[in-house]
């Protein structure tokens, strides 16, 4: 579960990115977060992953209070999250299998657990045959599916995706969203940031709309009007 209570964020250069955000995401939900570029969506993601700290307000992530978390607890908090980025961020010098196995090693999994878990998640994202490929040998859609597999491999309670389809064509984008929906159906909470309203409107999900650092609407089964995009 994620709770942001009266969150304000001002960057060091004086930019006021968030101006009083209140939002709560319960376990098992699928949530789209939409809004124009520069509205503060990525800032919310970075607050949740503890990359930046809020200027004001209270912030809870999966049982961790990020207002006073100890630095050595941050890795454990992050292991409850699986993060996906627009630019995939795979390690180019590692194969698909190694990209996944090193994340499992990082949390102390045994070789046996690794050998059991990776085929399962690769199967889930439809890349069972590509374990020995390097990222450069895969298409953009396939790379993003590797990134989704990596986010899933440690069995997090929540997947967070910041514009996961920003670099993909519409067909690939739809496939990725459908995959995320499937993952949600298997029990993982999913938060997807995007500004592709066409895509959002194909799924009847909760939509949180942000504009200029504020939430302007939050409707379940909602519809993204995207009047300002």
């Amino acid at each position: 579960m994620i709770r942001l209570i009266d969150i304000y964020k001002e960057y060091d250069n004086g930019t006021k990115a968030l101006k009083g955000i209140n939002v709560r995401i319960d376990d098992g939900e699928f949530v789209f977060m939409v809004g124009p570029s520069g509205s503060g969506k990525s800032t919310i993601i970075k607050l949740i992953t503890a990359e930046v700290a809020p200027t004001e307000g209270r912030l809870m992530v999966n049982g961790y209070n990020l207002n006073n978390i100890r630095p050595n607890q941050v890795p454990y908090m992050r292991r409850t999250l699986g993060v996906i980025f627009q630019d995939f961020r795979l390690i180019e010098k590692k194969t698909v299998w190694e990209n996944l196995s090193f994340v499992m090693r990082a949390v102390g999994s045994s070789n046996r657990e690794i050998r059991r878990r990776i085929p399962y998640v690769l199967e889930l994202v439809g890349l069972a045959q590509k374990a020995d490929r390097y990222p450069s040998e895969l298409s953009g859609g396939e790379q993003q599916r590797v990134a989704i597999a990596r986010a899933l491999v440690n069995n997090p309670s929540m997947i967070i995706a910041d514009e996961p389809t920003g670099n993909l064509d519409p067909q690939r984008s739809l496939e990725i969203m459908t995959l995320l929906e499937r993952i949600n159906e298997l029990g993982t909470t999913v938060l997807v940031v995007t500004h592709e309203k066409g895509l959002v409107n194909r799924f009847a999900k909760r939509v949180v709309a942000i504009e200029d650092g504020r939430i302007i609407s939050d409707e379940t089964g909602g519809y993204y009007n995207g009047q300002t995009t």
Binding site: T49, E51, N72, P75, Y76, M77, R78, R79, L81, V83, R89, L90, I91, K93, F102, V103, R105, A106, V107, G108, S109, S110, R150, N154
Partner: protein, 296 residues
């Protein structure tokens, strides 16, 4: 959750990184080799100087003449008294006949000298000191011994040796300290360059919940591998340089004074010192270099 030691992963990852970042590894090893060579050369010069002065010191001696009223038996009993003095390494009794013989060696054709009666010479002790720095004090003590008539000493030379030795080791120490500091900085910067384009990789690891130590260990092993490689290369290069310089000194036949320690006599200590320095510099440099990238 079970926490496991990932040492196998850290080591193989360290090796893998060394080879997959070949050029930067090469540059880092070159830096380590250069630093070890420079420090090694200065140290070897200092060690040799110390050794050489030690040799000279050992040869340093003075003569204590026995009172002529003493019989030879009486004179010989003085040896024990002299050797009991704290700074006396040995006191060898030399009869006047022996003194004459050795004095005449190489002077046989000089009839005047050959005909000198041995009574011109006196029984004496050839005294070696342990520590040349307190030689003047020892001389006073020897003069104070009942039965010693006169002491003949070239104190000026002795104190000249001491001065040269002290200056040489002082200068070498300062130079080595300065070089150590400079080389640590250079190596940290080389490794920082080598790791700079891996900061994204580090950021990804941190975002996936990797702890700092999990990210750091492969870099530490990488540094250890580079450091050890540098140490071995430096050891053999140092050997070559040493032999070359020894050859040059031999050729110039620089005075019988120069006594050079053979490299093989010091090989184990040099290798051990290089290995330890290389490992410390490599691992330390790695840790210093990635510290900044870990703050994600």
């Amino acid at each position: 959750m079970a926490r496991r030691l990932n040492s196998g992963y850290y080591i193989s990852e360290g090796f893998h990184n060394v080879f997959s970042h070949g050029f930067m590894s090469f540059a880092a090893v070159c830096m380590i080799v250069a630093c070890l060579l420079i420090m090694g050369t200065f140290t070897l010069v200092a060690v040799n100087l110390e050794h050489m002065l030690g040799e000279l010191e050992r040869e340093n001696e003075f003569l204590a003449y026995v009172d002529e009223s003493y019989t030879r038996e009486q004179a010989q009993t003085l040896a024990g008294q002299l050797e009991a003095l704290p700074n006396v390494a040995s006191a060898a009794f030399v009869t006047k006949e022996e003194a004459q013989t050795s004095f005449l060696q190489g002077r046989e054709e000089n009839a005047l000298l050959v005909e000198l009666p041995s009574t011109v010479f006196r029984d004496r002790f050839r005294i070696h000191v342990k520590d040349i720095e307190s030689m003047s004090h020892t001389v006073e003590q020897v003069e104070g011994v009942e039965g010693i008539a006169k002491v003949s000493v070239a104190l000026g030379i002795a104190q000249g040796f001491v001065l040269v030795r002290n200056i040489a080791s002082g200068v070498a120490l300062i130079l080595i300290a300065i070089l150590m500091i400079i080389s640590l900085f250079i190596i940290a910067n080389t490794i920082k360059l080598a790791t700079f384009y891996r900061r994204e990789e580090i950021a990804v690891m941190k975002m996936c919940g990797a702890s700092n130590s999990f990210v750091r260990w492969p870099f530490v092993f990488e540094g250890l591998i580079l450091g050890l490689t540098g140490a071995v290369v430096a050891f053999f290069l140092q050997w070559g340089v040493y032999q070359l310089v020894c050859g040059l000194i031999d050729q110039s036949a620089a005075m019988g004074l120069v006594v050079i320690i053979p490299y093989v006599d010091m090989a184990f200590r040099i290798l051990a010192t290089f290995a330890v320095s290389g490992l410390v510099i490599g691992a330390g440099g790695s840790v210093m270099a990635i510290r900044k990238f870990l703050q994600v």
